[in-house]
Structure formats: C-alpha cells, structure tokens
C-alpha cells in the first residue's frame, strides 16, 4: 500500500491571505530593483549633456510615467514597512543581560528612514 502524495498547484499562494501578502512582498523587490535601474539611467542621462537630461525629465512628466511612479511608491512603501517590521525578529540585541526592546530596534530603522527622507526632500526642493 502506497502513501498518497498531494500535488501542489501553482496557485498555492492564492489559497490563504498570508501567502498572498508574502507573494506581494516578494513582488515589491522587482519595483525596488527597477527603481534602482531607473536612478542609474537618470545619472547616465546627466552625463549625456543638458539636452538629453532635459528630454528625459520631460518624458517623465507624462501621465503614464507619473502613474508608474505612484505604483512604484506604493510597492516600495510596502517593501520597506514589512521588512522594517520584521527586523526586530532577526536583530535580537542585548545590553548586558537585558534584551533591547523590539519596538526600539524597529524605531531606529524608522527614524533613520524619516531622517534620510527629510534630507533627500530638502536636497530635491533646493532648500
């Protein structure tokens, strides 16, 4: 008598919400990587002279480009928040015998994120 091996369908991740959210988190990596490539292209255009850079910036003002940027922003936010929330599970730190509170570990990451965002915003807005 043989044991029965249940097949795993390709749609396994649609069966439960936590699996869907996991796949969504995996998908966000594509947007994070894609935006890194975009930033590299932006720098490359800068090296091609003022006209090339200006044309590229103009192209970015199209509605489809703006929509894509909003979608990317949503995915990157989801990526950042889910990973920051998971960080205290991985980074278990001790001060002497006392464990440093999980909220503090995550808090350091969130604070760093806010500070960097403010600096970038100030640079971009030219203040």
């Amino acid at each position: 008598m043989s044991a029965y091996h249940r097949p795993v369908p390709n749609t396994w991740w649609l069966k439960r919400t936590p699996y869907v959210l996991f796949m969504l988190r995996e998908l966000t990596s594509i947007f994070v990587a894609g935006y890194c490539v975009f930033l590299l292209i932006l720098v490359y255009k800068l090296t091609q002279g003022a006209d090339a850079y200006g044309n590229f910036i103009d192209a970015l003002k199209s509605p489809s480009s703006i929509a894509l940027h909003f979608i990317t922003l949503a995915f990157v936010l989801y990526h950042t928040i889910t990973w920051f929330n998971l960080t205290p599970k991985i980074l278990v730190l001790y001060k002497g015998e006392e464990q440093i509170p999980k909220a503090l570990v995550a808090g350091v990451f969130y604070t760093g994120w806010v500070v960097v965002s403010i600096v970038v915003a100030l640079l971009v807005l030219g203040m």
């Binding site: 008598m1 043989s2 044991a3 029965y4 091996h5 249940r6 795993v8 396994w12 991740w13 069966k15 439960r16 936590p18 699996y19 996991f22 995996e26 998971l86 599970k89 991985i90 980074l91 278990v92 001790y94 015998e97 464990q99």
Partner: protein
C-alpha cells in the same frame, strides 16, 4: 433537536482507492467540543474505519495536527464554536505524504530532527563525569534560547511552509529552530558540527521567510526568527572567513 455541525473529512484508504475523497459527517455541536472531540465521536459512533493521530488532548503531545479549513492546527485546540454553523474541512497536514485518512507519513521529519543533532555537544575533553554534576547556566543564558526549546514536534510549521511543500529536501522550520536552540545554549559547543547542515542550501538558505511557520506555532516558538538569525550568524561567519582568513577557525 440538538444542534449539529458538519465535518468534511479527507479519506484515503489505499486498499480500496488510489485517490483520496472527502466524506461528510454530521456530529452534535457542543460549546466545549474541539475538532478532536468531533473526530473521536465519528470514530466511536459513526464510522470506526476513520484513522487519525491523537494522544494527550491538551496541546502538549503534538500528535493531533491537521489542516482545519486549510490552516494547520492542533485538532485538540480548535473549538467547533469558532467555525459553527459552517462546515469544517479536515485534512492531513500539507507537505507530508498521506499514509491513510488523516495520518501523515512523518519519517522525513524524524530523520531531519536526528540529523540536526538536537542535544548538548561538548568540546572534546570538556565532558564532565556525571558525578561532577550538571553544567550550570544563569537565568539570562537560559532566557536566550528558551522560546526555541518549547517545540512539541507537532509539525504544524512544516504544514504551513510552502517551501517544504514544494521541495521536501528543505530541513524545515522546527528542526532548524531546534538546532538554533542548542547553538544558543551556553553549555553547548556543537555549533560547527551542526553548521554544515544548517548553513547548507537545504538548510536556512532555502527559507524565503514566508513567516507562516511562526504564525501557526501553538507554542510561540517562532522558527522563522530562528532561521533568519541563523542566516545572520552564518553570513557573519562567511565575512570573517573572507576578511580575516588567518583568524580563529570556528
């Protein structure tokens, strides 16, 4: 008439069928009944051919794990009232071959559990004779690994892990968490002996941090965290090897 609830149960009887089927049973609905009580009622009063595992009926032995409406749970800890009046679907744990009905084949897990060497390993020559007493440890040293020592080997974490379902070579959550439990024990020197398996491709690096192993754990062991922490320490090992090749070997 007294209230009843329906259970749709996975049946696989290899002597008469090559594919599993689902049979629906109607059992009395009692406020304080858990799914295991309902299954016991079916076995005793309706269909004595139903096979399943159970023992302590109080969330300690870890034998009665099944999928309840697609979620791995101990059937002794899942109350009927949380599902009533809907039908409850009961299946054997995902990821394991099915021996019969709700009974999974767990040999693979047992083998992996042994391979991880889940016991205190001392450096050669540092074993104390029994009459010298136990190896002492402070409460703080105990606290560092204690959550990982609460595992009851119920295998719910394996059933929740899509990686294990897709590739059963993965050592899996409970075994790695148990390895980590000993690695973090101040009395243990066996980390390097376990590392070959833990840091292998079938070990921690197979894990994609879905996190459901920890979500379904009835003892809050958090195997997902144990695996990620092992990834961090293995990465630190690698950097040390590369950057300080003349340094002390693990």
């Amino acid at each position: 008439m007294a209230e009843t609830i329906k259970l749709e149960i996975f049946r696989y009887r290899p002597e008469k069928e090559s594919e599993p089927t689902f049979l629906t049973y109607e059992v009395p609905f009692l406020e304080d009944w858990v799914v295991l009580d309902a299954i016991n009622h079916i076995k005793d009063e309706i269909d004595g051919t139903l096979s399943y595992r159970w023992s302590c009926q109080m969330g300690v032995c870890g034998s009665c794990g099944v999928m309840i409406n697609g979620v791995p749970k101990l059937s002794c800890a899942a109350f009927l009232k949380d599902y009533y009046p809907d039908k409850i679907r009961v299946e054997p744990l995902t990821g394991f071959p099915v021996e019969r009905d709700l009974v999974s084949q767990i040999d693979d897990f047992m083998t992996k559990l042994t391979k991880i060497q889940p016991y205190i390993i001392r450096k050669r020559g540092e074993e104390k004779p029994l009459d010298e007493g136990e190896y002492l440890q402070t409460p703080a040293e105990l606290a560092r690994f204690k959550p990982y020592s609460m595992c009851i080997n119920c295998m719910l974490c394996y059933a929740a892990c899509p990686v294990y379902a897709l590739d059963s070579t993965f050592i899996g959550p409970a075994a790695i968490a148990l390895g980590q439990r000993y690695n973090m024990d101040s009395r243990d020197h066996g980390r390097s002996a376990r590392q070959e398996l833990i840091a292998s491709h079938e070990g921690i690096w197979e894990c994609t941090f879905v996190g459901e192993c920890s979500a379904v754990c009835p003892k809050d062991v958090d195997p997902a965290a144990a695996i990620q922490r092992a990834k961090v320490s293995s990465t630190v090992d690698w950097f040390k090897d590369v950057l300080i090749p003349w340094g002390k070997k693990k």
